[in-house]
Amino acid sequence: MTGILFISLLVLMFIGVPIAIALGASSMVLLSYQGMPLVTVAQSVFESLDSFSLMAIPFFILAGNLMQSGGIAKRLVNLANAILGWIRGGLGGVVVLTSMFFSTMSGSSTATTAAIGSVLIPAMEKKGYPRPFGAAVAASSGELGAIIPPSIPMIVYALAANVSVASIFLAGILPGLLVGSSLILCTCVIARLRGYDLIEPITFGQWAVGVLVALKQSIFAILMPVVILGGIYSGLFTPTEASVVAVVYGLVVGLFIYRELDWRDLLDVCGRSALTTAIILIIVAFAAIFAYMLTINRVPHMLGALITGISDNPLVFLLIINVALFLIGMFLETLAAIIILAPILAPAATQFGIDPIHFACIMVVNLAVGMVTPPVGVNLFVACQVANVRMEQLMRPLFIFLGVLVLDLLIITYVPALSTFFLP
């Protein structure tokens, strides 16, 4: 009977019906087949939207947009450049490091790629990097936006699989550092081998002065993650309250301290953030009725039984899941994939004795790689546009970074301690 649900979902999705509608419509098909009233859809949609935790998503989107318009991004680039610029291949590393800083304030990968790529790709070209290489670095470091907290995919996962947002945020810290440092290492090695990025040697004193000056200029930008994450982990704020603190912080810094945001821009930024919010949350809303249909028809249970039939080894289970998610991520939007799959896979993972927070990390990291895998990868499209290169040119340098990301994913999968280290 649940066959109807999945077949109608897949057919609708592949003919290009928006995912929110495909989820709602396929649930309605099964509802009417089972003789249940259609008003169940409305009930479930409003129940899922009427949630204070969900509000962290619009606020983090707004905060990210405010950061970008408010001049914070530029200062972060300067800081990262002061820290890493002296190494051969350092400028490539600067892209990654700036993405890491940026990810601690914004939950969006594409915004990170666009903001940083547009500033740094031309700078990299001047220092002898080919443009497609610059674009590939910018695109793949966008992945960090989804892993380093606060992250919108993580909030969505937490709500879909019913785990704590704060715990997933904590779990993302070390994997985020792992992915970030491996990408920095990779760019430095390639730059050295290919002879990009000639630098003049500087003394430690010059370096320290440079870093301090940049730090002074960007102090308000750097303090922000301390406020947000510190607030959440000390238990002072809920994630939603922390997200609104981020908005207020972004407003104050943009309007009064850096003064790069004016009141007229503000309504524009808010309107744009509202649209992005709606596009994400409408999927969350209709995924609720879909998840309800799955649960009352015991789909997660059946899937668990099916996979146990193949192997009862959790390591094999994780491998199967990773391969499947990687393939799905090539075609499906990260957020949509999380919303649809988390309620199905999370209970199955629990049956295998996998820590729910560790599993959350694996899923988010894996599906976020989907943003940089062809044929459908939003980060690739954005990077191509800001760097003005064609998708085919991007492929060769990109595959090296994809290899690094897959390796990181396997480490995160098979070393649970990385994700659970900070958990109580």
């Binding site: 592949f14 709602g24 009930q43 930024v269 709606a278 409408i282 499906l332 939007e333 957020l335």
Partner: protein, 201 residues
């Protein structure tokens, strides 16, 4: 007939071409609704900030003052933002979907599939307008937990939003047919468009 590839419309040509002024008026309505959504976002921020301030500041000053309504109002504003924002997004086909097949197929076939999916979406919107009205009717007598405003004021967001979605989808189709960019050229991707908008600003 508008034979230009660029989408320029003039107002006041109602009699000359009703469809074109329909698109113009829809776009005006959409920019108004977008502004309203922006204001609602600010409203949500203010409500939650007020909630935090009362919790932190007044509890330290030994006043027993909490504002439970702030949370309620912000949640209801968010619900309106979601349905109205999704409706505005429908104007440029910005709702997230899987477009691989549509673009992989030969152009004519892909466009045909796209029109089929638009037809399905319209049917979905129309059914949900009706379901939403039924649900809002149930919420007429029910009050919200704190402020006791009738739930129908929130529940009607679905029918209102999807009505706007239907109108916007028709405007998208009209524009695609008339401007000759085709249905595949008339759509935009929100995530990419907004990420790039930031960098150009």
């Amino acid at each position: 007939m508008n034979k230009n590839k660029t989408l320029t419309y003039e107002t006041g040509s109602w009699f000359a071409c009703p469809g074109r002024s329909f698109v113009v008026y829809m776009d005006r309505l959409n920019s108004l609704v977008t502004k309203l959504c922006g204001v609602a976002m600010l409203g949500m921020v203010l409500c939650v900030v007020a909630g935090i301030l009362t919790r932190f500041v007044f509890s330290h000053m030994q006043y027993d003052l909490s504002l439970p309504w702030t949370e309620e109002v912000s949640r209801y504003l968010m619900i309106w933002v979601v349905f109205l924002g999704a409706a505005v997004a429908a104007r440029k086909g910005k709702l997230i979907g899987v477009q691989v097949l549509v673009y992989a197929l030969p152009r004519g076939l892909g466009a045909g599939l796209k029109y089929l999916s638009i037809l399905m979406s319209l049917a979905f919107y129309l059914i949900l307008i009706w379901v939403g009205l039924e649900w809002a009717e149930l919420g007429r007598t029910q009050g919200s937990p704190v402020l006791e405003i009738p739930m129908a004021t929130t529940y009607s967001a679905m029918s209102v939003g999807f009505t706007l979605s239907v109108l916007n989808t028709l405007a998208l189709v009209y524009e695609a047919v008339k401007s000759r960019v085709g249905i595949l050229g008339a759509e935009e991707d929100d995530e990419i468009a907004s990420a790039l908008a930031e960098t150009k600003a």
